[in-house]
Symmetry: C2
Amino acid sequence: MSDTLPLLVGGSIAIDNVKTPTDEATNLLGGSASYASLAASYFTDPVHLVGVVGSDYPPEHLAMLERHGVNLGGVDRSDGASFTWSGEYHQNMNDRTTHNVAVNVLQNWQVGLSSELAASPVVVLANMAPANQLEMLAQCTAPGRFVLADTMDLWIEIARKELEEVLAGIDLLVINETEAREYTGSTNLVTAGNLLRAKGPEYVVIKLGEFGAILFAPPECNHGLFRCGAFPLSEVADPTGAGDTFLGAMAGYLASLGTTDYRFEQIRDAVVRGTVMASFTCEAFSTRRIEELSELELLERLEIFREMSCW
Amino acid sequence: MSDTLPLLVGGSIAIDNVKTPTDEATNLLGGSASYASLAASYFTDPVHLVGVVGSDYPPEHLAMLERHGVNLGGVDRSDGASFTWSGEYHQNMNDRTTHNVAVNVLQNWQVGLSSELAASPVVVLANMAPANQLEMLAQCTAPGRFVLADTMDLWIEIARKELEEVLAGIDLLVINETEAREYTGSTNLVTAGNLLRAKGPEYVVIKLGEFGAILFAPPECNHGLFRCGAFPLSEVADPTGAGDTFLGAMAGYLASLGTTDYRFEQIRDAVVRGTVMASFTCEAFSTRRIEELSELELLERLEIFREMSCW
C-alpha cells in the first residue's frame, strides 16, 4: 500500500452498553471515531485516531485498534470517566431507545493536533460536537485536503449555527435520512440532498439504513446521483456504528487512491465499499465482526454486492 | 413486435378521487388492472384487460386504454355504479388516508374468460379479491403459463386462506414492504422474502416505495437476490398506481420476450423496467404521465437509471 495517503479520523471513543431483542452486552468498544478508524484501516495506512478516553477505558479496545494499525498518538487520556452510551434496539432493529448518555471526558475536551497529524491530506470529522469538528478543521494544514464529516440529530437541534460552518468547510457530508429531512425541512430526499449540497459540500451522502444510500454529486457528474442499495442481511445482530463504519471505509478507500482530487467514479466506489463494510458491522455487537474480517471476505462480498445490484 | 406473447391482465378498474397536499382531482382512471394493462402496452401486444365497470364509467378512460392497444373485450359492463376509491396523501407523499371505498359492481362480479383469453401464456392477477384471482387462475389453460400476482393488506387480514391458494398457483408475487412483514410476521425483509417464496412462487418482489424493490429468486440464481433502487424523483405528484404500473410493466416486458421460460436475468431486467415505468406514474395524477410517454423517454430513463445504479 505504498501509494496510500495518511488518514486522520477525529470523533468520539466510547464505552457502549447495548441491548437487542435477543441479546445484550456491556463495556463494548463504541464511538464514531473508533468504528471509522477501524473500518478505514482495511484500506489505507496510516490511520491516525484523534479523540479522548477516560482513565476507566478498557485497554483491550485500544490494543485491538493498534493491532489493526490504527495510530493512537492523537488519543488524549483524561482523568475522568469515559464517554458512555447505553441503548436498546426494538424488535425491528431500526428503532432504538437511548437509556443513558454520559458525556464525561468529552465535556471539556479540546482538539489539539500535532503538526504531523494536522498535515493529513484526508480528514474524517466523525460524529461529535460541531464545535469540536470546527476546532479540528481549523488546525488542518494540508493544501487540497479532502474532508468528510458526519453529524446527528442532536447537533441539528442545538448547534445548527456551528454545523452550518462545518458544512461550509468540508467536501463530503454523510447524514442519515431522518436528519436530512429534519435539517432541510424537505420530505423529498432528492430535494434534501441538493439543499445540503448548496450549503457547501461538493458531495452529500444520505444514508437510508437497510435501504442503502444516495450519493449527491455535482449535476454534471452521472446526473448528479448514485443510488446504492444496502447489502441484504437475513439477521442484524447490532446496527450500532454501521454509519460510522460506512464513513470510515469511504474515507479509507479514498485515501488509498493516493490523491485527494477525486473523480465522481471514485466517490461512487467509496460509497459501495462503505456500504459493504457497514454490513459486516451489523452482523455482531460492536466492532466484533469487523475486527476479524479478512481481506478475502471483504472482496467476496463486494463482488456479490455488485452482482446483486447491477445489470 | 412479432415475437411478443399475449398478456392477460385481470383486476380492478376504478374511478379514483385523489387529494395531495398541493392538488386534487376527481373522476380519474384508477384500479390495479387499468394501470397494469396500460403499462404493459408499452412492451407487448396484445394486452387483454379483464374486469368490470359500471354504467357510470367515464368512456374517455376506456377510449384512452384502447388507443394504447389494450383490448377491452374482457371488460364486463354492469348496470351498477363503478368501483370508486377516494383518498388523500399526507405531506410526505408516502402515507395516505382512504376516505371512501365503494365496491359497487365489484361486489358480485365473477371472472368469465373467453377461450381465447383463457389461453393467454402470461397472466397478471392484479390486486383484487383473492377469490377473484383464484377464479381467474382456474380458468387459465395455457400449458407452461407464467402468472404474476399482487395483493394488499386487506386480503392478508380477511382472506388469508384464499391468498395462500393464490400463492401456491403463481410464479411471481409482488407485495409491498409492510404487507410482506405483516404476512410473514418477520421484521427482516430477507427472511420475509424467503418465507413468501416457500409458499409457492418461484420469484417474490418486495416493493419498498421510494427505496426501490428486492427480487427474491431461487438461491442458485445470483445469490437468490437482486436489489433494485427506485428512480429518484425530486417531485412526486401522485404515487397512486405506482405498484400496479410496476407489475404491469414487468409482465409486459416478460411477455415481449416471446417465451414463458425465463432466466433470472430476464426477471431482473423486468424489475428494472417496472421500476422505471412506475417512476413516470408518480409524476402526475392517475395515468396522465404514462398515457403520454414516448418510447424514447422510457429508453432514456432506463439508461440514466442504469448509470445511477451500477458501477
